[in-house]
């Protein structure tokens, strides 16, 4: 019982600090990354890391906490945005998509990618997991949401989202490198 309580507390705290990490990454200035002409905000990087490092349950909950706090009006999204207006606005789907994104990344990394023994294969598998959740799943929610809210055709909305693709791909690479390295030092993080 006592051990179980410790685990519950540990999970709650990990969820909270990662939610805070996602929020804090939205409040720091955009980071300039070598090959890209414009600085990118790193908030979705935090979502990818929450899923890849904490697994589906705690990662998904961390993303949920950030979404709930921002909808409740805390200006914790990149650029100091927050409130119901963000949810009901054209980019609301990209926000809601964070929750399934973290869950999908967590599931893929925990039960598939991290189990590869060979270093190169593991990097590729974690990268594929982060791409699936952090790009495909988020766009899957964001693109139709924009189309519904604005009335734009789905194809136009999809083409518009391509503008974010280069930045997102860089984030996938960075998140993968970080996740594999941190898992090497914290082996018990996924509770496996």
């Amino acid at each position: 019982m006592s051990q179980q309580r410790t685990d519950t507390t540990q999970s709650t705290v990990l969820t909270a600090v990662f939610a805070a990490l996602i929020a804090a990454l939205g409040l720091v200035p955009a980071i300039a990354i070598g090959i890209l002409p414009v600085p990118i905000t790193v908030q979705t990087l935090g979502v990818m890391l929450a899923g890849a490092l904490l697994g589906p349950l705690r990662g998904g909950l961390a993303a949920t906490v950030v979404v709930v706090l921002s909808i409740a009006g805390m200006p914790i999204l990149a650029g100091g945005r927050g409130g119901m207006g963000v949810l009901l606005g054209p980019t609301g789907g990209y926000l809601i998509g964070w929750i399934p994104a973290a869950i999908v990344i967590g599931l893929l990394v925990k039960y598939w990618a991290i189990r590869f023994e060979r270093q190169a294969v593991r990097y590729l598998a974690v990268g594929a997991s982060v791409f699936t959740g952090g790009v495909l799943v988020i766009y899957l929610f964001g693109v139709p949401w924009t189309a519904v809210v604005t009335g734009l055709p789905l194809a136009t909305s999809a083409i518009g989202s391509l503008a974010f693709l280069p930045g997102d791909l860089v984030k996938v690479v960075v998140a993968t490198l970080i996740a594999v390295n941190v898992h090497r030092s914290y082996r018990r993080l996924l509770g496996a």
């Binding site: 969820t15 929020a23 950030v66 706090l69 009901l88």
Partner: protein, 220 residues
Amino acid sequence: MIGGSTKNGPLARVPAGYKFAFLFAAGIGVYLLRDTGAQLAALAAALVIAGFARVGAARLLRAMSGLLIIAAVVFVTMALAMSPSEAVTATLRLLTLCVLAYTVTLTTGFSETLDLFERLLRPFRHVGLNPAQVSLALSMTLRFIPEIRTKYFEIREAQHARGLGNSPMAVLVPLIVRTLESASEVASAIDARCYDSAERGTERDGPRRALRAPNGSDPI
């Protein structure tokens, strides 16, 4: 203090639940309006409500500034891709809904909104979602945001001194390792103080009350 809301004005006294229910209904309502005249009337009504709430035009504009740019882009794209009348419909719908949404946010206290969410989550405790844990996680998150932000700037400065300031890896890996370390410290501190968050309800308001500023306003 970031965020916060206007505490005066008649709308600030309406319970949060009613405001969110109204927003939900309005969200469906604006999609049912097809006629431009009716839509203009709805936007006017939304602005009247915003004025009634004494949100202040400047605050509303500041909150909506990013959105106005997106709305302009949407208008131009739609006018080119489809027809000007469709563009007008979509843009009016967007503006109406967002004026209402920001009015709700600006007139509802942050802790009031969180209380509403916690009430809405209560039925889920039967499937294993512990309200005390939820409360603990939400308040702890708010407490940690400024701390992690400070840590981020410290690490970035240190890496700048080593000539690594522009490498995201050199900044983010130490940030995450230090965050994980502080997480385990905090978890053992909570257990050492026997905050039994696994037990339903007993000390529900404990951590939240402690984190609230003395003047009763929102944390951070």
